[in-house]
Structures are given as C-alpha cells and as structure tokens.
C-alpha cells in the first residue's frame, strides 16, 4: 500500500488531470457535433 503523500499526490495529479482532460475531450466532441449537425431554423420549426 502506498503512503499517504504518494496517494494524495497521485489523486491530485491523475484526478485533476483526468477530469480536465475528459472535459476537454468532451468539449472537442461537442464542438465537432455542432459542426456536423449545424443549427437549422427550418428543421427546428418542423419539429
């Protein structure tokens, strides 16, 4: 079992980094989705 500080620093780096990277990836995917499926007022009216 790792010591407290190794555990804490691992959580800090991997946890913070992991959260940031995941949300960065999601923001890129969402930006791409917006490009692939652009807003079309006519289509929205049909719905």
């Amino acid at each position: 079992m790792m010591d407290r500080w190794t555990f804490g620093l691992t959580m800090l780096v991997v946890g913070m980094g992991g959260t940031l990277l995941t949300l960065m990836l999601l923001s890129v995917i969402m930006a791409l989705l917006k490009k692939v499926f652009p807003y079309n007022p006519d289509e929205e009216k049909k719905d």
Partner: protein
C-alpha cells in the same frame, strides 16, 4: 395499584431520563436548519426534511434508526443502496437545459477547473489524518453537489454521511455569500468589467439529443466506476431533449424528484444522531467542506483569468466562479457581480454555460476519482 401508576409514570418520563447532553444540542441544530430553510429560504426542499429528521432522531427510545425503525427502513432502502441520489440525478438531468454549455463548449473547461477544490481538499484531509476513503468523501463536498456527496459517502464512508451531506447542502445554499468576496479578491476592476458578446441560439436538436448519449458513452468508458452518476443525469436529459416521453420527463422533474427529495432529506437528517455527530471530526469535516467550495471558486476564477489572457480579454474571468455545480445559483451570482461593476454586462448565459459544465464536471470528477481509486486498488 400505586406501584402500577408509578411504573406507568416512569414510562412517561423515560424519554427525558435517557436524554444524552448531545441530543438537545442536535435538536437545536435541527431547528436551526428548519429556520434556514423556512425563514431564509436556503435550500428549503432539503433543509426542512433534514432539520426535522435531525430533531426526531435525537428523541431517545423512539428507535427510529434501530432495526425495523421507519427511518432505518427508508435509509437502508434508498441511501445504502445508493438509489435515492441516482433518482435525484434523473430529475436533475430532466430539469437541466445544457444548451448554454453546448453553445460554448469551452465552458466545459471552466466546469473542470471548478472541481479542483475536491482534489486539494482531499490532500488537506489526508494531512489531517483521515483514512483514504474518508478523505475522498470529504473532498467530494467540493463537487458542491449533494447527490454526488451522498452517493460517494454511502458507498465509502458511511460514518461521514451526515456531516458531509449537511455540509454539501448548507454550503450550496451559501454560495451567494461565499463566492462574491473571492471573485472580487482575485480579479482586477478591468477584468470584472469585461463585456462578453452574446450568442444567438446555435445548437441543433440533433446535437442536443446526441449530447447525453455521447457523454454517457465517452465518460463511462473513461470512468466506469462513476457511470451510475453520469448515466442517470444523462438519461434524464435525453428524455427531456427527445420530447417523446413527456410523461416520464415530467414525472422525473416533479413526482419522482419530490418524493425522493423528501425521503432522502429525512434519511440524511436521521444520520445526525447527537452521540455520533457531536464530535471534533464533524467540525473538521464541516471546515474542510467550506474550504473545498472556496477552493473550487478560487480555481474556477483563476482558470477564467487564464482564458481572459489567452483570448486577449474577451472572456470575463468572473464566469469561472460558475464552474461549480450549484446550478443555477452560482450563474446568478456571476450575473449579479458582473452587473455590479458594469451595468452593460450580461454574463448570465455565459455563466450558465460554465454552470452546466460544472454539473457535468462535478459528476465527471467524482467518476474519475472513483475510477482512479479502483485502478489504485484502494476500493
């Protein structure tokens, strides 16, 4: 005959005789929670049942939290099984409009920065001698997201469920008091006055429909341990955006959310038994929870400042404070603060984006944390 009367009378005063000194203290705290909910309108939907639960569980000999007690039955059925927070998440998903974050996907990053307090507080908790699973649970208060806190605490540190839940919900309601001084301290007048351009509605229905599906798949693959949290909030949102299951959406927003909120609140209140609650650990947990939420705001605003620099002053750093999960409260705080320094400043939609990003961010942060812990073999 006289002996019988005396025994009967003895039964009527047994409650008073068995009162531990901590019970009246907790009843007073229960009344304080009721006061905050009823008179001050601080999260009344939760503080009222929590406060009442806190009062009744501190009445001796009622056995409400003993085996087969009615509160124990509710607690075991919904909190221990983690079902209540997950049902609440379906309701939150059904109530939340993620359009602002989809309009400006970069606000996801503010939602990430707003969670950094979780990890910094985890370090502090470890430094204070808490066990790994307890430190993780205390850190999660920084998610500023009650159901997430309850989900993690019920799984990994049940002894801290009461203080962590009370801290999460109380501090969430104190966001309008806690955030403005930090926002002012960390930004210059020029930064606070920055006007951000408003955007037209630019998100297609297809994108809105794909959002919950993509988030669930990608987020679930990255952090499978947190999938229940992520999947339930996204299921609620998918129902809302699809528009074809209006009955289910409305039930999730209203009946299900209301019933579960009541049962969850009273169950959480029932964990606040004086003999267990009144101890130094509780004070430390409450203090660390406060630090966690303040650190979230600090990190969010600092990240906003970085974006301000990168974009050449196009982003008002104040919106970083909305990267926490207190939705839509912190977005309103940002709007109010922005207007205070520049009457022409309308930050609400941008702040709502960061705030919606914070909703996803808090769930993702908890999911990532649980998956990292699983990977490290801690859980």
């Amino acid at each position: 005959m006289v002996e019988g009367i005396l025994s009967g009378l003895n039964g009527l005063i047994a409650g008073f005789l068995n009162l531990h000194w901590s019970n009246p203290v907790m009843m007073a705290i229960g009344c304080l929670l009721l006061y905050l909910g009823i008179k001050k309108d601080f999260e009344p939907l939760l503080l009222v049942p929590i406060g009442f639960g806190c009062i009744i569980v501190n009445i001796p000999l009622a056995g409400l939290m003993e085996k087969e007690g009615f509160l124990r039955t509710i607690y075991d059925a919904g909190v221990i099984t983690e079902l209540f927070p997950l049902f609440i998440f379906i309701g939150i998903g059904a109530m939340t409009d993620f359009t602002p974050v989809l309009e400006n996907p970069y606000t996801f990053l503010l939602g990430a920065a707003g969670q950094f307090g979780i990890f910094l507080t985890l370090l502090l908790a470890l430094a204070l001698g808490f066990k790994y699973n307890e430190a993780v649970t205390i850190g999660i208060i920084g998610a500023c997201d009650g159901p997430t806190v309850i989900y993690v605490a019920s799984q990994y540190a049940q002894s801290l469920l009461g203080p962590c839940s009370v801290a999460a919900y109380s501090y969430m309601s104190l966001v309008p008091v806690l955030q403005p001084p930090i926002m002012k301290m960390l930004t210059t007048k020029k930064e606070r006055e920055t006007i951000m351009k408003t955007h037209k509605r630019t998100v297609s229905k297809t994108t809105k429909l794909l959002f919950p599906i993509v988030i669930t798949i990608v987020g679930g693959l990255i952090a499978p341990k947190g999938l229940p949290l992520l999947a339930t909030i996204m299921l609620g949102n998918l129902m809302r955006e699809s528009g074809v299951v209006e009955r289910l959406t409305k039930a999730s927003q209203n009946e299900i959310a209301n019933i579960v909120t009541l049962l969850l609140g009273i169950s959480i209140g029932a964990t606040i038994d004086g003999k267990v609650f009144v101890q130094p650990t509780t004070i430390i947990v409450l203090a660390l929870g406060l630090i966690a939420i303040c650190l979230d705001t600090v990190c969010g605003v600092l990240f906003g400042k970085i974006l301000y620099l990168i974009t050449g002053g196009k982003i008002n750093p104040l919106i970083g404070a909305a990267g926490i999960s207190a939705f839509p409260m912190s977005a309103r705080v940002v709007q109010k603060e922005g207007q205070k320094y520049n009457k022409k400043n309308y930050l609400l939609m941008h702040a709502m984006g960061a705030n919606a990003g914070g909703q996803v961010g808090s769930v993702m942060a908890a999911a990532v944390m649980l998956s990292v812990l699983k990977g490290m073999g801690v859980i």
